[in-house]
């Protein structure tokens, strides 16, 4: 029962002089929906690529669906389903033709292929559009078709790399709906990366990776429990003074995140009167939030995921204008 679908031991990967992954140990149990969170450049993609046999690890071992990724590549590839961040459909083929192509290359027995195609198309709600060219599909439909295709060959582990990136909130919710449903019909382990924190809530367990290492791993509830504090964000007309006064007068460590002075205190609501009494800068707004995965992320990495996106994406053209104070 407690068998691992994914087992990593001391996994490292070095590109030239850069250590992208620095010793990851990880066990993902069979049937688990496992979330992998981290800013760009944290080693997330490198780790996923190693698990999918697309990149070779520098050292350490990785066993996926019972096979070693470095020596049994074909065996691993046949037992995993992949949904990449970038689309990989042939838009000049119909939905059905895309699935058929996949079924043949993954060796699904012909006698079962037709029936299986029906099943996965129904699962993602695309049965009616099966004969249509993929170029007529919306972004959400294409994503669903890719998930259906990833499931076609009865994989033991399904990798979803940012499955909802670039989709509108409604479609994102629908995708997670389908993911939830397929867990009931398929005997499968799902390994998903996302940078939408609210989506990480759907996972049984999540790991936060930063600087090539796993800095936290647990259920979303347990991780939020470790924070034990509310997040308070205030808008002031003098942030620097506010931060200084918070430190001097109230002993609170604050910093600017997302354009607001941000800090954590055990009882946010009770803290507000003291805040107004102690600070002599003008406070325009106060926001108090119960701990969320965003806070967990911030507690372990020192950044919110949006901060991380901004500084991590080195090619971001607006980086210098992004109002860092």
């Amino acid at each position: 029962m407690s068998e691992s679908a994914i087992q990593l031991r001391g996994l490292t990967k070095t590109f030239d002089a850069v250590e992208a992954v620095r010793g990851i140990d990880l066990d993902v149990g069979e049937g688990e929906l496992f979330g992998f969170l981290g800013p760009n450049g944290a080693g997330k993609s490198t780790t996923i690529n190693i698990l999918c046999t697309l990149t070779k690890a520098t050292s350490g071992s990785a066993v996926v669906a019972g096979h070693d990724v470095s020596v049994e590549r074909a065996a691993v590839r046949g037992r995993i389903g992949l949904v990449f961040q970038e689309p990989t459909l042939d838009t000049y083929l119909t939905a059905e033709q895309n699935l058929h192509f996949h079924g043949e290359l993954y060796g699904v027995p012909r006698a079962r292929l037709r029936e299986r195609m029906d099943d996965v198309l129904t699962m993602v709600g695309l049965s009616e559009r099966r004969k249509d060219l993929v170029q007529t599909f919306s972004g959400g439909m294409r994503r669903r078709l890719e998930i259906a295709r990833g499931l076609l060959h009865f994989p033991k582990v399904l990798f979803l790399d940012e499955p909802t990136i670039g989709l509108d909130p409604q479609t994102r919710a629908a995708i997670w709906d389908y993911v939830g449903k397929l867990r009931q019909t398929e005997d499968i382990t799902i390994f998903v990366t996302t940078h939408y924190m609210e989506e990480a809530e759907y996972c049984d367990r999540i790991a936060i990776i930063d600087g090539g290492e796993i800095v936290a791993i647990d259920t979303p509830e347990a991780l939020k429990g470790t924070i034990g504090a509310d997040r308070v964000q205030i808008h002031t007309n003098d942030d620097d003074a506010a931060i200084a006064q918070l430190g001097d007068r109230l002993g609170v460590d604050a910093a600017v995140h997302e354009g607001m002075v941000t800090f954590a205190v055990p009882q946010g609501a009770q803290f507000v009167p003291r805040l107004f009494a102690a600070l002599n800068v003008e406070i325009n707004t106060v926001t108090i939030t119960r701990p969320s995965l965003d806070d967990v992320f911030m507690a372990y990495t020192g950044r919110t995921i949006r901060d991380a996106e901004e500084s991590g994406g080195s090619q971001h053209p607006f980086r210098l204008m992004a109002g860092k104070r």
Partner: protein
Amino acid sequence: MTTRTDTPAVPIVPVAAGPAHELRSAMMVWRREMVRFRHDRARMIVMLLQPLLFLFVMGTGLSSIVETGGDVDFRTFLFPGVLAMSVLFSAAFAGVSLVWDREFGFLREMLVAPVSKFAIIGGKCLGGSTVATLQSVVLLALAGLVGVPYNPMLMIQLLGLLFVGAFMLTALGVLLSARIKQIQTAMPTSQLIIMPMMFLSGALFPMANLPDWLAVLTKLNPLTYVVQPMRAAIFDHMDVPDGARELLDPSITWFGATIPVGVQILVAAGFAVAVLTAGVLAFKRTD
């Protein structure tokens, strides 16, 4: 092969190993090219126009000044060259379409499948060359207009040779697309390679009495060993005076020795396989 199907509730384990699976995958890649070709009739018509221009406009124009040594129509001479040309371009483009596949992500879907790159690339080359050869059928149907007899045996020979040439050019296109990642670069580069191959194959002018440097280049050109056997096959099925044949269809010699047609075809096929292998190796290194 040993999968039991009497327990439908249990997911079956796909059979993704062994030569049968490799063949099945290659055939699927081939079929994709066929499906896409069916969807794209416009391409077929456009691709036909250029060789028709060469055959009837340029061929008719030049026939008044080219010495054919008797009563052979210059357009009869030109026919195999134009056939080869039409196949050449569409085959090379079919190979280069891998750059598109990469750009739209589908190459990744193919390359992560549990199957060898040889099956993928081989299937792609087979598909591209089949499409190119099919396109030439329309041109072949016009053989009678330029005095080439509709002999079934001849047609089969020509199609077979065209297929070898098409395979060579598709494989070349594939090899190119392993190195070139941008379609804007890949297209002109493939033209840059096709043009000299076409000119140096004897497709458009007779190879007799060429200056030495040109004669050497034609012998180094693998496409010569497709075009010359085609022309020989056509003349074999016609009544051509010896003098005209010597002028229009001189035998290929290496260091004075005449090379039989069978060996010429082997040279072409061998080169095609070599390019395919190079393409597979190149994809193993990069993607």
